[in-house]
Symmetry: C2
Subunit: 371 residues, 2 copies
């Protein structure tokens, strides 16, 4: 009996995962984390009103979610002062990026991103046979000008930039991003991933530009709104670009509970302000903990801080492993020289205390001996 | 400025949805349904323990779901007496079907299904450029023998059959399905969609056959477990077929709340038994309501019943519209001659009473006059 055969493209792809899950690390170590600070999650959690809304919706989960996410989409439109036709709600930015790549990137089509930027975007590009072209970070920042030059050179279908950036936490002002938007090459679509935008200073987000069919922006409830596990993201763009999602998206893919939670979270701006304040405090705490250990941090506009461990990637990796032995889960950038850093999420005072205790031990354990 | 251009495949696809959502119908009519009996949902709802588990998980939703769905996958493996390597958990069968088609169906590849069977599968096949070949129902049943003949003729990559069937509710015995499995042509993969299997009589589901790389089965928490809005399905197959999902699936796509709910639901077999019993009762109620109006029903192994309205599709459509005016939401098969029927979900006694009152009115309103 002849087995079924994968498509040539699928055959060429490894069975891989952009990130190993925190739970897998816990299972490997045999004990739960003391502080889960590695998955770019928001430990301050969702609005209590969002929790209530989700708890209420749990008993209604026998119904499919509204495939149009009508209420949420309209609330988001009002929130941003744009039309519902400019918004597509999806199962997190990861899913929206996958659909976007599927719509625009055929086999061999060029895509531009930064070397060391979001791996899940790269995973989708590879998954649809696109050719990735990467430009390096400059001073731990993504480099808009080089991204544009490269995009022009390779005639990129998509250009990806995250502002603020993951994994470094750095950011560009709206002026810089607006210049990048003005410079988008003919035929390219700029994917502006603003997953962390609610944590960034005023003046980071450009104004809405929903008449521009060469720009699409990604937002999420996973970060500032503290609902990573709910899988709610949304794209903002020109109506024709947004409507194209309806060609291939999973129309009934949204969790009904998550839709209810996101709607309640959006309406609770006080909680968002509270989280924003906690994050600013925790960033300073991480900076101080690093300084107490003779280390510097990269300024961050996100809910994580990259600590420069002052040596190479191998050293940073040893520090991470030592932290994990003490129950502290963190991660690190994949690419040199950014991989000299470890990336630590903002946490509650208890979590920050646990990290404060563990970091000097980890540095001492791993500093002198080969691992 | 030149706009970004969709891939040729994406350009060729309409912006469409396999089903318009019930909420859209409610918004159009300006009033909520009295009985939501059209979306193949289980109005008896999820296990109270599943609801509790989801309510508890809501406050932990700041964490991403485990990308391996480790606990749920292991519990499912134990439940079915197979290995975790034979199970892939995903965001509902819709998503799993999309990934499966993506893995196996390239542009122009042949796929076989029944004319009038699950439209979302067809949507995915079209979305990846596959060529659909359809065989007709026979006596309101999918026709395994013809599906196999057609698959052999066109050298199908995938063969789709739902057992029990949607939209008709009919089913084949495990013996018939086992014969179909034995007859799978070289190189074809049989997709056995068993979304409704927990509602079918003993002897409908074949034994597990996880050594067979030409067979993949789809199961879900959306139907008997009453959790459609949670988006939890799973595929059962040979380890190599299951592992291929890891090449392209959205690893962090599962809602953490839904994972918790599905795990609790699986463990609460008493509630499943309760729902199974309610469904058997409601099927009989629908049959009786139809009989009281001079109509017959198609025997069903699902939580819906197709009522033969005795005329053509246009008439059935008028009956549906009239029911909707009275707040009863139902649907109908898309293809003749099955579209002589309307499809009504099993409901609570209150919902069945509402339907009982509305049906004769709808038949009378629509029977004599053109609509």
């Amino acid at each position: 009996m002849t087995k079924p055969v994968l498509t040539p493209l699928a055959q060429s792809l490894p069975a891989s995962v952009p990130f190993v899950g925190p739970e897998a690390a816990e299972r490997a170590s045999g004990k739960p984390f003391i502080a889960r600070l590695g998955a770019n999650e928001n430990t301050f959690g969702p609005s209590p009103r969002a929790i209530s809304a989700m708890q209420k919706a749990a008993s209604e989960v026998w119904m499919y979610g509204d495939p149009e996410s009508f209420e949420l989409r309209n609330a988001l439109a009002a929130h941003h002062g744009i039309a519902p036709e400019n918004i597509m709600v999806g199962e997190g930015i990861d899913t929206l990026l996958g659909v976007l790549v599927r719509l625009y990137v055929g086999q061999g089509d060029a895509v531009v991103t930064s070397d060391g930027a979001y791996p899940t975007f790269n995973y989708h590009v590879a998954g649809f046979g696109g050719e990735l072209h990467k430009v390096p970070y400059v001073d731990d920042h993504e480099d808009p000008a080089s991204l544009i030059v490269k995009a022009r050179e390779v005639e990129a279908k998509l250009i990806y930039i995250a502002n603020p950036d993951n994994p470094m936490g750095t950011w560009h002002s709206a002026d810089v991003i607006n210049q990048m938007i003005a410079d988008i090459p003919d035929g390219s679509l700029l994917v502006l991933d603003e997953a962390y935008i609610e944590m960034a200073p005023e003046g980071t987000a450009p104004e809405m530009q929903v008449d521009n069919p060469n720009l699409i922006r990604m937002r999420t409830f996973s970060k500032a709104y503290g609902m990573a596990g709910a899988r709610v993201g949304y794209a903002i763009g020109a109506a024709e670009v947004i409507d194209a999602f309806n060609k291939v998206r999973n129309h009934f893919g949204m969790c009904r509970i998550s839709q209810a939670g996101a709607l309640a979270a959006l309406k609770n701006s006080d909680w968002l302000a509270h989280v924003q304040s906690e994050i600013i405090t925790a960033r300073e705490t991480i900076k101080q903990i690093a300084a107490d250990n003779g280390l510097t941090t990269i300024p961050s506009a996100t809910n994580f801080v990259a600590i420069d461990c002052g040596q190479d990637g191998a050293f940073a990796r040893r520090v991470l492993a030592a932290l994990l032995e003490d129950g502290i889960f963190a991660r690190m950038p994949f690419v040199a020289p950014q991989d000299r850093c470890i990336r630590v999420s903002c946490g509650t005072p208890e979590q920050m205390d646990a990290f404060k205790k563990a970091l000097p031990v980890a540095l001492q354990k791993r500093g002198a001996t080969a691992w």
